[in-house]
Symmetry: C2
Subunit: 257 residues, 2 copies
């Protein structure tokens, strides 16, 4: 399919020094040339935030045959936008990979995810894009167990492509004894409860930490990412950007017009 | 429908001192009791970013019968989460309103919008939610022309409710001589081009400003928000959170499994 080695753009939200992106780079370099633009500062939970109040700056941290890496002072979305529109010049990548995130981006959490922002930017620029996330939230998580999954999915996507405007959200459980398999799933639209911890500082003033527990919505349907992650399966949720609710358009017209 | 005056939560991304939120508060106070939690610092383009690296603090800036207002040091999503889970205590609102944003949140731009983040949090907490945005991007935009639209939509939604998990994204054009009418639309999934302006600072170092032009995707279909905004109509796009691409699930299963 390729006359030359495929060109793969990689970004994440955790930053360049995390094991997750190191695993992703390691696998991608066996499959193609790699170009990294990662946030200079940890950017978890930044969703598709973009930076326009301040300019974005970059620093090149690696350049050798088949491998280039930059850090950028913006969000994950900024990183991919900057890569595709400026830093990669006229060489559009064949694939955008994001992650491997330390922690799931399953279900509703795609809404808050900087990792998913990377792949949304990828498909908005017409490039097939895959996000990987791992069910170990620690900053020193051993993501090497994810590498065979990354290799399998990346090879298949490089070979077969993806439907227009659809990216993949791949979540990988931390399982003793190995994964049970892989499932194509829907995102569980559960909800966060007990979202804040209220504290009082030594001077008597209130402050709040965002925390909480995720309440799964439809665990028993057997279709959702959470359902299969809990059972030891890798999940792949095809994901798009458009959030128009086509189904309710006539009902809303009846209400308002 | 209500035994007492409805309780309306209001937030935005521009901050408490903008004309847009002042117009929204003004209209809402004619229809119910109002509780405001607005960002303490301008938060445009923050998407559904959430704050968990630092705690969030609040300051109460108004309290009188039927009206309470806080500023919070977080994102728009934080503001609504904090209102619903902590600051409003056991009084869940009947409605969440966001905006009026200075600038459209039409089409693809819902992805980057802090205003839309407010209403996503609203429906995730089970509260009917409506975002309003105005086609004047200046910080001193005169949003009073939007007030009849806010009143109409808010009254109808308070009376008729909204479908579960669906919020409304209302965009209001700046039109000499008044709006032509109102349309229920889809979001135009166009794309941004020429996204960055590359400059060199006085010491010779590169920096990049996020900018660009929005390229409309399907202007001629006659269904999208951009199409009708350009023709002077107020647009209402029913919007949901779930981004699963159900249609491609079997194709992705064929590719990967």
């Amino acid at each position: 399919m390729y006359n030359k080695r495929p060109l793969i753009l990689i970004s994440n939200d955790d930053g360049y020094d995390y094991n997750g992106i190191k695993s992703l780079i390691k696998v991608a370099r066996t499959l193609g040339d790699v170009f990294v633009v990662a946030p200079a500062v940890h950017q978890s939970g930044k969703s598709s935030a973009i930076t326009f109040v301040n300019p974005v700056r970059t620093i090149k941290v690696a350049q050798e045959p088949g491998y280039t890496a930059y850090l950028a002072t913006g969000t994950p979305a900024d990183c991919v936008k900057l890569a595709l529109s400026q830093l990669m010049a006229d060489n559009m990548p064949d694939l955008v990979l994001a992650g491997i995130n330390h922690g799931y981006n399953s279900g509703l959490n795609t809404l808050y995810s900087g990792t998913m922002a990377c792949v949304f930017e990828g498909i908005l620029h017409g490039v097939p894009s895959v996000a990987f996330s791992f069910g170990d939230y620690s900053s020193d998580a051993d993501t090497s167990v994810c590498e065979p999954v990354v290799k399998h999915v990346t090879e298949r996507v490089l070979k077969g492509g993806l439907p227009k405007d659809v990216c993949l959200n791949v979540n990988i459980p931390k399982v003793d004894g190995g994964f049970k398999g892989m499932k194509v799933t829907t995102g569980d639209m559960g909800r966060w409860v007990n979202e804040w911890e209220h504290r009082v500082d030594p001077t008597g003033r209130d402050y709040y930490w965002l925390t909480g527990e995720f309440e799964i919505a439809d665990k028993n349907e057997g279709l959702t990412d959470y359902y299969w992650l809990e059972r030891g399966f890798v999940t792949v949720t095809p994901t798009h950007v458009d959030q128009t609710d086509y189904e309710s358009m006539s009902q809303i017209a009846d209400l308002l017009l």
